[in-house]
């Protein structure tokens, strides 16, 4: 706030006013023009995608479509004839919600264990968690696939959901919060009253950890919802596939049917835009907090 005040003050100064005030406004116009151009570049692909999805293949191939057409339903029907996109939507929702709930609960559990208990090797183990964050996800992918084959877990959702229990980033993030958000005195007092350790975690710590968990929850959900490579290699049955794989399938299944492909893209993107426009403040706030902590 004080900077705004200082800012206004300097403009009012007579020595500055004649020169800086007009040049400042030209500068401001340029700045806004830049912001608007970048905003247009950010949004234009989404606009073009929605408009294209409402036109027949002939119109898509021959003209620039800046206004809506009336072929959306026809395109949609052809898409559904080759790829059951809503099945992918439902599968993706199931996987992403389960994986998010599980990773949040398990990460809170691990974070609480590291934050509130000193046990032999706890520092080493936490260092191990931090170090594992630096390992790229694709390093073990061949071994992961072969192991899932041996365990007969291929073509099931387990390999997409269970590994979330060992999320180094989520654990680290919640632990940083747990150190300050859950007071030791509260835990001690509960112990004095004879509460069990599980009761303390579930009834005292978990509610206090809700803010970092909800911020992480959004990003875990987005990450799982968008995940492509894992479902692609783990699932064989087309009816089990998640939305990203289904959208990718439209590219090969209807390679010259542009209208149908556009509809698939729209069905994948529009829900995200709607959810984001409702939750954008929380999502951006959560990301900024995460950036400062990390």
């Amino acid at each position: 706030m004080s900077r705004v005040f200082v800012d206004g003050d300097s403009v009012k100064k007579p020595a500055n006013s004649r020169k800086s005030s007009p040049s400042l406004s030209v500068g401001r116009i340029l700045v806004y023009a830049f912001l608007i151009v970048v905003a247009l570049i950010s949004l234009l692909p989404f606009y073009s995608m929605i408009m294209s999805s409402t036109h027949a293949n002939y119109a898509i191939a021959t003209q620039l479509n800046l206004l809506p057409g009336n072929q959306f339903i026809a395109n949609y029907k052809r898409l559904m004839g080759t790829v059951n996109i809503w099945r992918g939507f439902a599968n993706d929702l199931l996987v992403a919600v389960s994986a998010t709930v599980l990773t949040l609960y398990a990460s809170a559990l691990t974070a609480y264990g590291f934050s509130k208990f000193r046990f032999r090797g706890s520092k080493f183990l936490f260092g191990f968690v931090l170090a594992s964050m630096m390992v790229p996800g694709q390093l073990g992918i061949i071994g992961f696939f072969r192991e899932m084959h041996t365990l007969h877990l291929l073509n099931t959702y387990w390999p997409l959901i269970i590994p979330g229990i060992a999320s180094a980033f989520n654990t680290f993030f919640i632990k940083q919060n747990c150190d300050s958000a859950v007071p030791d005195e509260l835990i001690e007092a509960a112990r004095m009253d004879g509460a069990s350790e599980w009761y303390i975690f579930h009834r005292i710590a978990l509610p206090l950890l809700r803010p970092p968990m909800s911020a992480l929850g959004i990003f875990s959900f987005i990450g799982n919802w968008n995940s492509y490579m894992m479902p692609l290699i783990i699932l064989f049955d087309n009816n089990l596939q998640t939305l990203p794989v289904m959208v990718a399938m439209t590219q090969s299944a209807s390679s010259t049917d542009y209208g149908a492909q556009y509809v698939g893209v729209v069905i994948s993107v529009v829900p995200i835009i709607i959810v984001f426009s409702i939750l954008s403040r929380r999502i951006i706030g959560g990301l900024s907090v995460g950036a400062l902590k990390g």
Binding site: P136, G143, F144, Y228
Partner: protein, 292 residues
């Protein structure tokens, strides 16, 4: 005294145990197993120990170097403008006089949460030389007369993939930079204001140097992420000369199209080594700069 402490500490282990059990099964074991597979000619049916043969094959594999080159080119095309745009936008949107700051932040960040594969499919559609929106738009604006065959030239194809990745990530980096700017002590700015420093000078002399740790964090995470790009190059292109075949796309094809698991595992380990080398180089460069 000792016994309640011991009891407590045992609970600590109970709380962290699920993490390490799952990590051992789904994290560590696959990584070590991959290392073993990389010394075999495993194809799913047979598996013989062949020593370092996969790695010597890798060192003589033209397509591996091509993938490495494509990955690096696409990464550079995406990261350089990405950081510059993100930084400029962060400096602008950190100014309190800008109206609609939240709106702009949200709009710039939106591409980042959209499914990457979907963006890849969309980019492939939009840059199609006959039916794509981009050629139609450029022709309507009289910038080009003939449609451009975007995926016909290797560099153009890499430019598009890099550009799409830049488009997807500049907003994310902008938010990280804004968070970094907001953690800078406002007294520094007030002091600069009193000393008569202009906005531009303040940005160059105060904001940028203090943003360096955040920049380094961004560059290192973008190396780790950028070398592993898969979703978008997988969808965009099919261009001439494997121009958009990145390392991980090559890994995927070796492992899950050709079922050459041993070789795919070797590619994964080679990629890991490349990431480590690039990270160390960038750390060293940044340390040398700060020392001088």
């Amino acid at each position: 005294m000792a016994s309640p402490m011991e009891k407590k500490s045992r609970y600590g282990l109970v709380f962290v145990a699920p993490y390490f059990i799952v990590f051992a099964i789904f994290g560590l074991y696959p990584i070590l197993y991959s290392l073993y597979i990389s010394f075999t000619n495993s194809n799913g049916f047979t598996s013989n120990f062949i020593g370092l043969q996969n790695y010597t094959r890798l060192l003589h594999d033209k397509f591996f170097y091509q993938s490495l080159w494509s990955t690096v080119v696409i990464w550079i095309i995406s990261i350089v403008p990405q950081l510059i745009i993100a930084l400029v936008l962060a400096l602008i949107l950190n100014e309190k006089f800008i109206k609609g700051r939240h709106f702009f932040r949200a709009v710039f960040y939106l591409p980042n949460i959209v499914t990457p594969v979907t963006i890849g499919v969309l980019a492939d559609l939009m840059f199609d030389w006959q039916t794509g929106f981009v050629n139609k738009l450029l022709m309507a604006l009289h910038i080009i007369k003939q449609p451009v065959y975007w995926f016909g030239h290797p560099f153009l194809a890499q430019l598009i993939v890099g550009g799409v990745i830049c488009w997807q990530y500049f907003g994310y980096n902008m938010l990280i930079f804004i968070a970094g700017l907001q953690s800078i002590d406002s007294e520094l700015y007030e002091a600069a204001e009193i000393d008569g420093a202009g906005k531009f000078q303040t940005a160059i002399r105060i904001s940028l140097p203090l943003l360096k740790p955040v920049m380094m964090f961004t560059i290192i995470t973008s190396i780790i992420g950028g070398i592993q790009i898969f979703d978008i190059p997988m969808m965009v292109g099919n261009a001439v000369g494997n121009a958009t075949q990145t390392l991980i796309v090559y890994l995927y094809k070796a492992g899950f199209v050709n079922f050459d698991y041993g070789y795919a595992a070797a590619i994964a380990y080679a990629t890991f080594v490349i990431i480590i080398i690039l990270t160390l180089i960038s750390l060293k460069v940044s340390n040398r700069k700060s020392a001088s």
